[in-house]
Symmetry: C2
Subunit: 337 residues, 2 copies
Amino acid sequence: MALQQLTQTLLPAIEEELQRVVATCRQPGLEDMYAILAYHMGWQGQGAGPEARGKRIRPMLVLLTAQAAGGSWQTALPAAAAVELIHNFSLVHDDIQDQSPLRRGRPTVWTQWGVAQAINAGDALYTLAFLALRPLPQAISTERTLRACSVLAETCLLLTQGQYLDLAYEARGDLHVEAYWPMVSGKTSALLAACGALGALSAQAEEAVIDAYRRFGSLVGIAFQVLDDLLGIWGDAALTGKSAESDLLSGKKSLPVLYGLARNGPFAERWKQGGVTATEVSALAAQLEAEGGRAFTQDWARRYTGQALQALEEAQPQGEAGAALRELADLLLKRQA
Amino acid sequence: MALQQLTQTLLPAIEEELQRVVATCRQPGLEDMYAILAYHMGWQGQGAGPEARGKRIRPMLVLLTAQAAGGSWQTALPAAAAVELIHNFSLVHDDIQDQSPLRRGRPTVWTQWGVAQAINAGDALYTLAFLALRPLPQAISTERTLRACSVLAETCLLLTQGQYLDLAYEARGDLHVEAYWPMVSGKTSALLAACGALGALSAQAEEAVIDAYRRFGSLVGIAFQVLDDLLGIWGDAALTGKSAESDLLSGKKSLPVLYGLARNGPFAERWKQGGVTATEVSALAAQLEAEGGRAFTQDWARRYTGQALQALEEAQPQGEAGAALRELADLLLKRQA
């Protein structure tokens, strides 16, 4: 309820801030470069609109955190834009790396403008993330602004490290379950941790509060990813929907798969042969469940969800934004498989 | 003389600072990611060594500027590492974009580790550039550190804008000479301008001095590129050396070529047909010279060289480092075609 109401105010403000920042590129002779970025952000071109923009969960998290930590969400707009631009830079490069033809239902940048321009568009969005922080010193101290820059850069390093592992894992057959956590830390958790830290930092919160929101973001990120892996095999879409929705078909080395490989039972035997077909998906999911893969993954999802919610309570979120943050956490973490 | 002596001190210091920053990635489980970066930086793998590192001209420019502007070069080491890392990030991505198999005589990152990991390695070097600035507040004010971050981010935006134009120009047949300058501003001049600005900023120099060094860097960058274009057609290597050295063969839309196309004479006629062969190169260069392309390019090189040297004198560079800066400018700008 609080979340829905606040979203109506915050979402347009986020979009406006993002457009302000990306418009830095809108210069004479560079109209076509701006068009690439505006296409990816969901503002222009075929299929533009809210669906093409994604949910803007990360900037929402930044603004709600700032407000719940005793600041005002307005102050946190530059940081909110920065994390969303980092997220989008990584999507543009991810899509090239994974050779994905579609993103949010539309052709990806590299399929529309080629790999060379897509790499450059990602680099531009990355740069714009740092430029997004420029108004911050008008609202908070230069020391804190500098720290926000550091948080952003450190987060990007974790992202590239997670991405390195993700790409490297594709080629490896000898992975252990332990290999999962550092990859997820970088790929999903680092940017959400930054959302918490930057939101609280924008609110000029105390060190302990900043740290609690940072941990909240980090743990939400891990819990979200584990839950995503669960749904990727036992979710409705994976079991009964389009076959492409199942991680068993795409060959993704998700947490349940790594568990199954470590068990070295019938699931592992079939998986290692490769070439899983759509007709096998349901039986293979049942086999992995019988070997304990589903319970194992659920257990981890529950554990991280509990830790995330505990970190949020330690942060003592205030007011309507605090209630909205709790709702957002529920929304992200209570999806059912 | 001053340059040679200072280089012996500064070059090892630059290399040490770069290694310190890139070692941030050297973590358990990420040894192979570090290996990619260390390979590109010329420290590891087949062919590692001074030749594989490039000349480190940009960080040299930062350090000499800091010292010549009344500061100490040691203070400017973080900024020097930052610009060199930005330069190297752009090289890794450039090589993918241009599908170049070789860089400084060695296989490029993308040919060794694939496009996906090469994109990520570039992203990591980019991130490390911002992390390189972290020690700066120990030596200069947080305000100036923040400004250094801004200079870096603004420079990267110009780089991506220049790169966008460069990639876009490849496909266009209707380019005018005027199209050349914004592309060169981004591709070559922006980072050298940042070297001047960051060097002077590290030295806590006055605003007018920072601006003079910034202009010096910017103008050196343009002059250098124009001279490069001149040598790319009328230099010894282009005319008599390996045929691949001539821009007339690679089809590069350099300044003399754009001039020739605007003239719309015999040169333009032959160029537009495409497929220039090695045996034609010398005659085609002579034709472009007869149409005034060489004199036109020389004139611009001379003009920007003069302006660059004037900006340097306005900066009033001091002591041995000042003498070395003048030598470096001569070295870069007095190459003969």
